[in-house]
Symmetry: C2
Subunit: 102 residues, 2 copies
C-alpha cells in the first residue's frame, strides 16, 4: 500500500476508545466489562456502544454469563479482530515511518 | 502517563486526514495545497477544513502567496505542531506496546 493510503487505516479500530479496547484485548485475550471500564476510564454507556461496534465488525465476541448470581459480561478478541489489529498497526506504521516526500 | 490514558491521544491529530497531513508535514516541513491533496487523496473541501483545524490548534501555519500570478497556498508545520506530533506518537506507542494487564 502507499504510505498515504489513509483508507488502509481501519476506522472501526481507529476510534480512540475502540483502539483502547482492542489494544487491551489483543494482550489479555478476554476481559470483563468492569475491568475494561476501569482500565479505559470509560462510562458504561460509551463502553457498551463501542463494544457493540467492535462486535458488529466481528472483531470481538461478547459473552454473557452469571458469576455468584451476578451478571458477568466479557469481551473476547476474535481471530478476525487480531488480524484487523495487526493490519491497523501496519498501516499506522507505514503512515508514520514512511511519511513525507522522497 | 498510564498506558490506557486515552486522553493523552490528541484528537486534533488522531483524526485520519489530519494525521495524514501531520505525518506528511513532519517530514516535508512545508507542502503546497495541491501536493497534499494528491498525496492524501483528499477532496478540496475536506482538506481545507482539516488544515483549518490544525491551524486553529497552532500545529501548522497557512501561507498564501502568488506564483506566476496563480494563488499558492502552503502549509508549514510549527514547533508546537512538531511537539504535539511527537507527544501523539509517544501516547500511541505506549497504548500499543504496553497494552493489556500485567
Amino acid at each position: 500500500m502507499a504510505a498515504f493510503d489513509l483508507g488502509q487505516i481501519d476506522d472501526v479500530i481507529h476510534g480512540r476508545l475502540r483502539l483502547g479496547i482492542m489494544a487491551y484485548l489483543v494482550n489479555s485475550e478476554v476481559a470483563d466489562f468492569t475491568e475494561l471500564k476501569n482500565a479505559l476510564q470509560a462510562t458504561q454507556g460509551n463502553l457498551s456502544l463501542h463494544l457493540r461496534k467492535l462486535e458488529d465488525a466481528g472483531y470481538i465476541e461478547i459473552e454473557k454469563s452469571f458469576l455468584a448470581r451476578k451478571p458477568l459480561t466479557r469481551a473476547r478478541i476474535t481471530d478476525s479482530g487480531r488480524k484487523a489489529f495487526a493490519a491497523y498497526l501496519e498501516a499506522m506504521g507505514k503512515l508514520i515511518d514512511k511519511a513525507g516526500p522522497g
